[in-house]
């Protein structure tokens, strides 16, 4: 990072903290919206007590399970919708309908159907994940250039080889975009679910802190949420950059 960029970024962070500090006690009640230094102290204490790690891990564990299932299910469904006529005719209408129902709205149903324990969280995360993955996968598979498939046919590729070695690699940039969006959705889903019905997790921490009039703790939860999201997104990008780099090259060839 060049010095100018570093300076500007530091400045913008300082401005945000400054505004927060100024508004607490003037614009807002300092008991309900505490200044940043009080939050920092609280964050430090909660980290030392292991509470931060406990809630972060609770949310992360749910996301890992739900996201893994949702991704696999989403890719399979997306491929089916794009490649199999019957699947398209049968799945497209319900998917188009369901995609309008936000994950938050599905939480009461999830609790009714799967109870207050983990399964209802998994359901909400799978639901949040699957929608963007299905639509991106289907778009990617459908947009494979026809002549690329034809070239493979001339070179002796059979049906399965065309799918595995031509269609799927052509679709990867789309699928990966869907997976990245879905990762963000998964966190939104889990936090909302934890706010409504849970005994652990970052969403629970935030809601519970508000109810118990512990605003410093509430802010610590928000900070934690931003941090987890940032780290997982970066980790995702890094992994893709390492493992899938050759499939992302084609975006440069679409000039």
């Amino acid at each position: 990072m060049n010095p100018r960029k570093l300076l500007l970024r530091t400045l913008s962070a300082a401005c945000a903290l400054g505004l927060w500090w100024l508004s607490s006690g003037t614009l807002f009640n300092p008991i309900l919206v505490p200044p940043p230094h009080k939050v920092a102290v609280n964050l430090w204490e909660m980290t030392a007590e292991g509470e931060i790690l406990f809630h972060a891990w609770a949310s992360l564990r749910r996301v890992i399970v739900g996201y893994a299932f949702g991704s696999v299910l989403g890719i399979l469904t997306g491929v089916a919708v794009a490649r199999i006529r019957i699947a398209e005719d049968m799945l497209e209408p319900p998917l188009q309908f369901v995609r309008n129902i936000t994950p938050v709205a599905i939480i009461p149903l999830a609790v009714n159907a799967f109870g207050l324990e983990e399964p209802s969280k998994y359901f909400v995360i799978i639901y949040s994940t699957i929608i963007p993955v299905v639509f991106n996968t289907a778009a990617g598979v459908a947009s494979t250039p026809q002549i690329r498939v034809r070239a493979a046919m001339c070179l002796g590729a059979g049906r399965w080889e065309i799918f595995a070695r031509v269609v799927l690699p052509s679709a990867w940039p789309f699928i990966l975009t869907g997976l990245r969006v879905a990762l963000g959705f998964a966190f939104m889903g889990v936090v909302a679910a934890e706010m409504i019905a849970a005994e652990s997790g970052v969403g629970y921490l935030i809601m519970q802190s508000r109810n118990m009039l512990l605003p410093e703790q509430m802010f610590s939860g928000l900070f934690l949420l931003g941090l987890i999201g940032l780290v997982t997104d970066r980790a995702f990008q890094f992994t893709i950059g390492r493992l899938m780099r050759r499939y992302m090259l084609q975006t440069a060839a679409f000039d």
Binding site: P145, R150, L249, A253
Partner: protein, 261 residues
């Protein structure tokens, strides 16, 4: 597979139009392409040349008539016929480097790593890209990409190369070099070439046989020439010039006829 002639007999192709009608694109195309020849199909744009090539490739079926190698009908794509596409960026596999692209056919044929490597080295050398095997398509110019596509096709050892205006999207200088080089490659490999172009000069420079198409719809064959020009072929040769104007007037006639409709 040993065969003597590629035959197109009474090939016609209809497409359903958006308004519910039927468009007859090709009508009664009959051609004989002898093994080892360089057969070029020349015609004004939109006359159905590519459709005809797609039918020979087996990508599309003919509405009437059919294509056969001797007496064996062509029913679908096969490794005996490989297409070289004009849109090379989409034809190549962008996630594979040049070598991997060339080795795709041999891999599908279940050849071992050693045999594949020998083939890719041989054909990358033939197209003059032996030093660029590790590069990915996005790192290569249009002309280089087209060389890779030619090497990829040859490494699969087809009997016939079906070429759909392969050099039309290249700049004039690259195009000229590739035309000359490709003719050498054809000489060395002895493949049968079924070539499509709208460029009269290119057709006369490369082909042993030239079929001029009538304007579409209902396009067919107007006239077939056997080309025995003095080698090396050059536009300054009077025979070349004479044949050029002859073919040009045929094409002009067709363009006029199309406009008059």
């Amino acid at each position: 597979m040993s065969w003597r002639v590629l035959r197109l007999e009474g090939v016609g192709k209809d497409f359903d139009r958006a308004d519910g009608g039927v468009a007859q694109v090709l009508r009664d195309v009959t051609l004989t392409v002898e093994r080892g020849s360089f057969f070029t199909l020349l015609g004004p744009s939109g006359c159905g040349k590519s459709t005809l090539l797609n039918i020979v490739a087996g990508f599309e079926g003919a509405t009437t008539g059919g294509v056969s190698l001797d007496d064996t009908p062509v029913t679908g794509p096969g490794t005996d016929r490989t297409v070289i596409f004009q849109d090379v960026s989409n034809a190549l596999f962008p996630w594979m480097n040049a070598r991997e692209n060339v080795e795709f056919g041999p891999k599908m044929a279940r050849l071992g790593a050693r045999a594949r490597q020998e083939l890719s080295e041989k054909y990358l050398r033939l197209v003059g890209l032996d030093a660029d095997g590790g590069k990915f398509p996005f790192e290569l110019s249009g002309g280089m990409k087209q060389r890779i596509q030619i090497a990829r096709a040859l490494a699969n050892d087809p009997d016939i190369l079906l070429m759909d205006e392969p050099f039309a999207a290249l700049d004039a200088i690259t195009k000229k070099h590739l035309q000359v080089e490709f003719r050498k490659i054809w000489n060395e490999t002895g493949k049968t070439i079924f070539y499509i172009t709208h460029d009269i000069f290119e057709a006369l420079l490369l082909s042993t046989h030239l079929a001029v198409m009538t304007a579409g719809p209902e396009a067919g064959i107007k006239e077939i020439f056997q080309i025995d020009l003095k080698e090396p072929r050059s536009p300054s040769n009077p025979d070349f010039a004479a044949l050029y104007s002859r073919v040009e007037s045929l094409i002009d006639e067709e363009v006029q006829r199309m406009r008059a409709r």
